[in-house]
Amino acid sequence: MHSLGYRANALLTFAVTILALMCGMASLSDNFNSPSPSAQVQVLNINWFQKQPNSNDEVSMTLNISADLQSLFTWNTKQVFVFLAAEYETPKHSLIQISLWDGIIPSKEHAKFWIHTSNKYRFIDQGSNLRGKEYNLTMHWHVMPKTGKMFADKIVMQGYRLPEEYR
């Protein structure tokens, strides 16, 4: 502590170390949050359902997606990334997941929402396995923190089924 430079360096180093510890504690505090999210998806309409020239099935649908993800937000949350995936199995693959829609929720106020939309990303099967296919719609989310650990979870909604024939 014998010179100004020495003191300034000691202060800066200590201050930054403490800041790192504070960020660690802030991230740990997220573990005390027990969220209770809810979600619901209605398939309002199958717009079309075709077999492409390259023999892949494709379906376009209109969805009504509603969710309440407010309880996911803590003081250490920067944003929540949410996406909706269609999940099904085929003889060749035990699990296929196709992302149909995603969004970024920037704050708690925006976390209770409903949206009426067609699928943002194309629902294409590599093959022609979709006729009469039973599938789940799973809402996944990533709670992105301001500092520290990211938490991810999902809600599985079962009981959806595609038409038997192409339209």
Partner: protein, 98 residues
């Protein structure tokens, strides 16, 4: 400034003050941020604390020079001359040169 460097007691005080102030502001900042559910508030309070601590402990304020070092009076110093290098050392070298 009285001296261009802090005295020993002043240095100890500056170090302790710095550590205590930074820790205290960190605790206050974290608790406030958590209670107000505002990360921004935590960082802001801590930043203010760091600036205050810097202003108080880095410059050589007069209150860090209250226990001035007592240097020996020059007349006293002359009575105790600096020890000279021992004569044996120079003698050892000569035989080697021959």
């Amino acid at each position: 400034m009285a001296q261009y460097r802090m005295d020993w007691q002043g240095q100890k005080l500056a170090e302790q003050l710095m550590q205590i102030m930074l820790l205290a502001f960190a605790v206050i900042a974290f608790v406030s941020g958590y209670v107000m559910a505002s990360f921004k508030m935590m960082v802001l309070i801590y930043a203010v604390g760091v600036v205050l601590t810097t202003l108080l402990t880095v410059p050589n304020w007069p209150f860090y020079n209250r226990h001035a070092l007592i240097w020996l009076d020059p007349s006293e110093a002359e009575k105790h001359p600096k020890p000279q290098p021992s004569a044996n050392v120079t003698q050892k070298k000569k035989p080697v040169k021959k």
